[in-house]
């Protein structure tokens, strides 16, 4: 039997006889409409979903109550409305607690999140230095003071502009090591740059 063509009366009759297939058909046909109806009333997707399941459970358990009086959709929506009203009546939407805004001001924190020295160096950092002549000379000076393995990584990444994977292969070390050396370099340079 083709489900799509069946009337609501027929489907309901079968549902009363515990025909799950008929229920599936009805559910597929009306679930969106019921969900939208509930959403308009309760304005919360999760609640609407929960209530929708309840609505169709009522159809399953009390389908005979329709009796073909009035359009099926209206009956269905009335069940939905009643369930929504019950929800709105019973659920504790009204709270008794007094207003106590928990927010602190956006910048009231005692210790600033960003240390000053980082702000200073970000404003005249080594990255910018790479692009500038005089600063570059100073930077080279700092690089030369680094341990050999770190210096090597610096040269390959910044001077030879190699990818980390390539540097790892060239040096025969894992990429993680390259990254950690790079991290060390950046950190140290930034610190010394600040000092310089």
């Amino acid at each position: 039997m083709a489900g799509g063509a069946q009337s609501e009366e027929e489907l309901l009759r079968r549902i009363c006889e515990r025909d799950a297939e008929a229920f599936e058909t009805l559910f597929a046909r009306y679930q969106e409409s019921v969900r939208a109806h509930l959403l308009r009333t309760v304005r919360d997707a999760n609640t609407a979903e929960d209530l929708m399941q309840e609505v169709f459970l009522r159809v399953w358990t009390r389908g005979e109550q329709w009796n073909g009086h009035g359009p099926f959709r209206v009956w269905l929506h009335r069940i939905a409305t009643n369930l929504a009203l019950n929800y709105l009546r019973t659920v504790r939407r009204r709270r008794e607690c007094p207003l106590e805004p928990p927010h602190d001001s956006a910048d009231a924190d005692d210790t600033p999140t960003i240390p000053d020295w980082m702000i200073d160096r970000a404003n005249a950092g080594p990255q910018a230095a790479l692009e500038q002549g005089e600063r570059r000379r100073q930077l080279q000076h700092l690089v030369e003071e680094m341990p050999r393995e770190k210096r090597e990584v610096f040269r390959l990444v910044f001077d030879a502009e190699m990818e980390i994977a390539d540097v790892a292969e060239t040096l025969g070390v894992p990429p993680g090591t390259v990254r950690s050396r790079l991290h060390y370099i950046r950190k140290r340079l930034a610190r010394e740059w600040d000092e310089e």
Binding site: Q53, R95, P101, D104, D120
Partner: protein, 1002 residues
Amino acid sequence: MPTSAPWHRASFERFLTVSLPQLLASRLPLGGYGVTRTGETTCCIELSLGTGESEVTLTFDDLPMPDVEGVFWRAGKPYVVLPTASCDDLDLAEIRCVGEQIAADIAARLGEAPDNLPWDETLARGWLPLDAWIGGFLERSAQALDTTNSLCRRSYLRRLSLTNRETLFTPGHYGRTCPIETPENPNIGRVLAVARGATIRDGRLVIEDTRPAATLGLCAALIPFLEHDEPCRLTMGANMMRQWLTPPDPEPALVQTGFEPDDAAHWCGRNLITAFVPWGLDSFEDAILLSETCARRFAYPQPIQPGDKLSNRHGAKGVVSRIVPDAEMPHLPDGTAVDLVYDCMGLYSRLTFGQVREALMGRIAQHEGVPAIVPPFAAPSAEELRERLGRDGLPEDGLEQLTEGREGLPLERRATVGVVYWGRLHHTAQRGYFASVRPGGCQRQGELEGYALRDTGATANLREHFHMRASERRDAVTLAERVANGEALVSPSPSPRCAELIRRLAAAGIEATPTAEGLTFDFAPPPGETLTFAQPIPYPWLPERTLTEVGMLPDCLAEFRAVQEANARLSRLQQTQAPDTLREKAVAELETRARRYLNALVPPSLLKLQARPMFSGRAVVTPGTGLNYDQVGIPEEMAWTLFGPLLQREGVEAEVIASRSAEATLTLDALMARSWVLVHRAPVIEPTGFLAFHPVRSAGQVIRLHPLANHSLNADFDGDILAIFLPLTAEAQQEAGERLSLAGHLRRDPGLLGNFLPLHSARVGIALLARTPEGREEIRQLAGVDSPLPEAPLHRAGLLALAQEVLQEQGAEAAIAMLHRLTLRGFAVAKRSGLSLSPFLGSGFPRPHPPQGEDAETWEIYTEELIERLQKHDVTDELEPFLTVVRAVARANYPILQKFVGAYGVVEDVAGRRVAIRHALQDGMTLEEMHTLCVGARHGIARAAIELENLSRTLRKSHLPTGYGVLSRAMRARHPGIVFARAASARQTDPLTDLDSSLFAV
């Protein structure tokens, strides 16, 4: 000029009288609606719904409403809801003030009522819980109004929140919001200050006044000579002014901008005779030296003490290092003692030249007896200042001959001295102080701290922090007693963190049992209160297995309740033999919620080290005078607190300790002399983040730090707080000395030597000393090397080479000792030098003719040329002190000096174009130039925030465990539960042999 924020109240009234009734009428059968004011900050709404028999009337009494200023009051505390901008193009953005925000919030919650509902009061209140909605909105959206001082309060009310911040600056910002004021934290550019000349009207931020000062916020407009400052520091200056404490006897600034309100309470600062000279350790790293007379003027709300923070309007900030008798302060030729010393080293690299000009103008105003008015972007030129100095009979170069104390020798150079307006901040030493040997409030230690200790091999200390001394242990409360009683300090496994993991896994049906072999995993029914499922579901972490019940843990109550609800529905559906469609949905929902609950029980963060170690303290850090390089000064009170139980262990009676008798003090000092404490500063991003020192008692509530330690801890003296930890076991004590002392770190990594070189003025001092043969000989002797120093400037590289020589030949301890001697000597030499920052810096510097056009490249070449000229500049003029500092590689550099005296140079503007800032700091910027510089400054602060985040992320990545034990695998996993479930399924045992697992668990 508007200084209040009328938009808050206007918006709320629109909500009450227009938007709310409209909204209600569109969704509900609204019969009547009326609002009455019931007080200054409350109102009452009465409305009716439905008709005929089902008509119901609702009354909402005592609804909150803002006062005329826009402030909501609750329990005597003020709150404000910031207006929000819909996008960062502020010229186009829709601005929603409190009323519009509440209306939108209610619109999202209010359901549409079908016709002919049988209304009754219960239903109506359930449908429209207006009081709860408004209350809830304010709870989520209102911020406590910061009322530290009147400026703070007023400026807070003029804030704007940019919820969808995509860029930090758009052209629409100009004139509408202050380019300077914004928080220096991740909220940068998200919280903005409405410009003085702008207002919020009809949902838009509109400009009413285009004069230069009107483009600034309330705070920035109060900074005289701001066009001579780098904007990044101005941001700090403006933010700190809002933290100034209000004195009982307000003192108007001698230099004003003319935009101050006519209200005595506005004035929170003090006009202080300020000398911008290095003063040894007392002025090192931003520390501030105060005279006793000056301290008396800052005695609100309690007497000022070392560690309390001061700032001026230009963003200079520091904590009081010492308060000394006036006779010990630098003196002017007429015998006047200086009030405050702020080291010029802090000015060189931060480009805050404006305060030097303010000092000069303050001097003039003081002499003339009338406050000077210096509006933003209208500061007097160098020529005008010179002329006024001359007219008033003051030194025309703005410099004074200071003496080192009342009876002391004159300094070697004449220095900048003037009157600067300084305020005292609410960051005090008292607020920063804490020490305890018991649980409650101890310093938090996380994974980053764990990495630092692990990287240095300080595993005994790591175990103490996260295990033995953790406040989270069940036996934590008895630790101090156990120490005092001399009990052996044992810490039964598992660690508190591991115990927490075991407890949570149990609720998920996994039993982890510590055994002799390690930690064994198996499945077991959850203990305690459980929830049995209506039907078994696949185990979320191991689908081939089923889950029939979970334990209830209050830690994840919300997630547990969600599981309960889903289970109840499924149960009901089963009872009614509901069709599969509904049942499947319910089962799927139960599965989803069960997975969420389990993941909430065992999140990845549970596998990270975390504890609050007892026997710890914290305090504001200040410079440590008179310390050896292996010593740290800790507050007297902290010393007694931390060492009290150890003294008892040594047999000193509790009453004797409480009396702090001379005898007890001797015992304490002796005990401390052979003990190590760890000093650390958050965030720890390198292994040297923990340093071990022998503690010595120090007066007041501050930690006194040896200058060799600043660099390693990234600490300066502008309010930084350091933590102190006392290792308790002999093993941890020994390890602290061997691995975490300065010498210990250097032994582990000789590459750290550069971290311990003399800094700032100490380095300049050494460079100055090395100029003469006698000085070089003295340095040689201090360094303890044989060969004479070459007749050449001694800068950073030379110092490093010298230190390396000592390190190689005599070892780490000798190298540190030698750097200690050189540093102290360097400070003394620099103090004598009278180095300063001339208010007429660069006036004698012959600038080549500037380019005519705007072409960025031409200007870049021009600035390069200026730098070269400065490098060759060899005339003893007002540039000499600055050049000395640059040449010693002690602070700043030629490009920075160039910004002071040449042309600021090429920067990116708001559209990312490279544009030339033609003026130097000494000239003062134009309004447009300042706006352009503000773009870069804001980006700089944001970059720092990103960098900090990246650093932590990289550290975490590079420290991921490498082992293959269960715990190590779980530490690497995004869903550790899966690892544990597999381990339980295979009844695996983690032998806890790899470092990460063993540090975590035992």
